[in-house]
């Protein structure tokens, strides 16, 4: 039976450098401390619920707290406060039980460099108590599936990034976990390998398994995930299905405009155009216009601008997307 994942009000403050990519916001050190250590607030009350058997995604920019969240759910990071559950098991209290249920693909490959590709899989199976014969058979199947059979007898030190990533995923699947966690699985992969990866994830999900992944790639979140949360500064800022979330952007289309100058009058006139839902001033010459139409609005925008003596100098139109949603909530691009 498929298993869900839940977190409740997770908070995490690192008093030393956070591990790997899990960086967050710098907070002020406690004032009375004799030796003030930099305190980094990575999670600030993050709650989420992953339903059994779905592909769930945490979308957010680097340093948003995605890796820390995955770290906590997979027993690798201790919370400052808050709790997490995998199925019925509270992660911190029942670590060994939780570890049996989960498979983890880390952001940075952590393959055992002293072993060959095939041995990595077989030993991983042995750690989970799978008998050697069964482990070897499963290893061969996965090596075949991930197109690594011809390299199975080699040490992994010389593997390319894509090969290491595929082997990491194969390893995470060796013990047939109920929940598969993938931290930025497609970072650094070429488009072909990325598509292979997505197929593999979908196929695994169709076996009734839950998949949780983090990404800062909107396309990945959009095409792969059934539900997602958008995370920024250690908090969930939006959640839902990709379609629901995109629909929640006022109008759907985003027009990022630049003028010779930006005046309050111009903002007001833009707001009055048919189809415009929301206008937000942007630095001294720009404006973000959320509207339910895109290109057809430009001629009217240009004439309004000319009318107030602020010539339109640059236009960028985006269709409804998660990127726009993120921009709408934070004022920043996901890539910033």
């Amino acid at each position: 039976m498929a298993i869900g994942v839940r977190t409740e009000d997770l908070r995490k403050v690192y008093s030393s450098a956070p591990p790997m990519a899990a960086t967050g916001i710098m907070a002020r050190p406690p004032e009375k401390s004799k030796q003030p250590k930099p305190q980094i607030k990575a999670l600030d009350g993050l709650s989420l619920e992953v339903k059994p058997g779905e592909i769930f995604c945490l979308l957010g920019p680097n340093g948003a707290g995605k890796s820390t969240t995955i770290g906590i759910i997979t027993t690798r990071v201790r919370t400052t406060s808050g709790k997490a559950w995998v199925g019925e098991h509270e992660v911190w209290q029942e670590q060994a039980k939780v570890k049996r249920l989960i498979g983890v693909v880390p952001q940075r490959p952590n393959l055992d460099f002293s072993l060959t590709a095939r041995e990595i899989l077989i030993f991983h199976a042995a750690y989970f108590g799978i008998p050697p014969k069964e482990g070897a058979q499963r290893a061969d199947e996965l090596l075949e599936k991930f197109k690594l059979t011809d390299r199975s007898g080699q040490l992994t030190r010389g593997f390319s990034g894509g090969m290491m990533q595929r082997l990491s995923i194969a390893r995470a699947m060796m013990h047939d976990p109920q929940v598969l966690f993938l931290d930025e699985p497609s970072a650094g992969l070429d488009p072909q390998t990325r598509i292979l990866l997505w197929e593999i994830i979908r196929e695994y999900n169709q076996l009734g398994k839950t998949v949780v992944l983090t990404t800062h790639n909107m396309e990945e979140a959009d095409t792969l995930c059934q539900r997602l949360v958008i995370v920024d500064h250690g908090r969930v800022i939006a959640k839902g299905t990709p379609t629901e979330l995109k629909r929640s952007i006022p109008g759907g289309f985003l027009l990022r405009l630049h003028f010779a100058k930006q005046t309050p009058e111009l903002m007001q006139r833009l707001q009055r155009l048919a189809g415009v839902r929301e206008v937000r001033p942007l630095d001294s010459t720009g404006a973000d216009v959320y509207a339910d139409r895109g290109g057809s609005l430009i001629a009217e925008v240009a004439s309004v601008a000319a009318g107030v003596g602020a010539e339109l100098s640059d236009v960028h139109i985006s269709e409804p997307s998660l990127e726009n949603l993120f921009l709408h909530h934070t004022g920043r691009s996901l890539r910033d």
Binding site: Y14, P18, P19, A22, G71, T74, T75, R76, V77, R78, Q95, A96, K97, K99, R100, I102, V104, P106, R108, N110, L111, D112, F113, S114, L115, E119, I120, F123, H124, A126, Y127, F128, G129, R171
Partner: protein, 256 residues
């Protein structure tokens, strides 16, 4: 406790050690055997050292080989696996309490240290003979010494491996290991320090002193040595302390 996972991790370490056996042999045996040859054969043969020195030297050489094999076997992989390759994460995600992963490392280190001691003993004897007067009169005492010394080496490796940065490995050898060897009563008995009373007290903080003196008591009791009871007690205390500190450091490293 998940014995299957524990056993699989031990098999993994044995498998890796077997793969690197030539390298490990050189690392473990070359230096002690060269030392044995120069001091036991050349210096004694040319009359600069008395013939009895051969027998006195042997327990110290075994202590050095065991202690540094154990430290090396646990410390170096831990430093690399935690800081560089992060490959230990595979085992940290195995369904076993993480303290047991540290204990597995200690057991693997102990086994390597014991093998090193048991191999260097006949090898050194071969280089030194004739005129080496060693015997195992009290096998139980000898076994206890070997186990406690190997545990000291492996727990020391655990603590060092979880406390040090990769860039400080060189410093560790010059600041910790080298003074430990020279003030470890390995090449001379503790009683030889009678003429340096302060130094004689200070070196008692060095656990290698108890390792060398303990093996001397077990193998060449005809030479002066620290009391066996004192040595056993000191080694037990050192082992417990290092294990506790090592496990704490391991957990700190393993969970952020």
């Amino acid at each position: 406790m998940n014995w299957k996972a524990f056993g699989a991790m031990l098999v993994r370490d044995a498998h890796v050690a077997r793969r690197n056996v030539v390298q490990i042999m050189f690392q473990t045996f070359l230096q002690p055997l060269l030392f044995v040859f120069i001091f036991g054969r050349v210096m004694v043969g040319s009359g600069y050292m008395p013939p009895a020195y051969k027998s006195l030297l042997l327990p110290g050489i075994i202590a050095i080989s065991m202690v540094f094999t154990g430290i090396w076997a646990v410390c170096m992989p831990l430093i690399a696996e935690f800081q560089w390759t992060r490959e230990i994460e595979d085992r940290l995600l195995a369904p076993i309490d993480i303290s047991w992963i540290a204990i597995e490392k200690v057991v693997a280190g102990m086994l390597q240290a014991i093998v090193a001691g048991l191999v260097v003993l006949p090898l050194a004897w071969l280089v030194l003979r004739p005129g080496v007067d060693i015997s195992i009169h009290k096998p139980l005492e000898f076994v206890a010494m070997i186990v406690l010394v190997s545990l000291f080496s492996a727990t020391g490796g655990l603590l060092l491996g979880c406390s040090m940065n990769q860039q400080h490995v060189g410093l560790m050898f010059s600041m910790v290991i080298t003074p430990m060897i020279f003030f470890g009563c390995t090449y001379y008995p503790w009683s030889a320090l009678n003429t340096f009373p302060i130094l004689q007290k200070v070196v008692l903080i060095n656990p290698l002193v108890y390792a060398s003196e303990g093996l001397r008591a077990a193998l060449v009791p005809q030479f002066p040595h620290l009391s066996t009871v004192a040595v056993l007690l000191a080694l037990c205390l050192v082992d417990i302390l290092l294990l506790m500190l090592g496990l704490r450091q391991f957990e700190k490293k393993a969970i952020s």
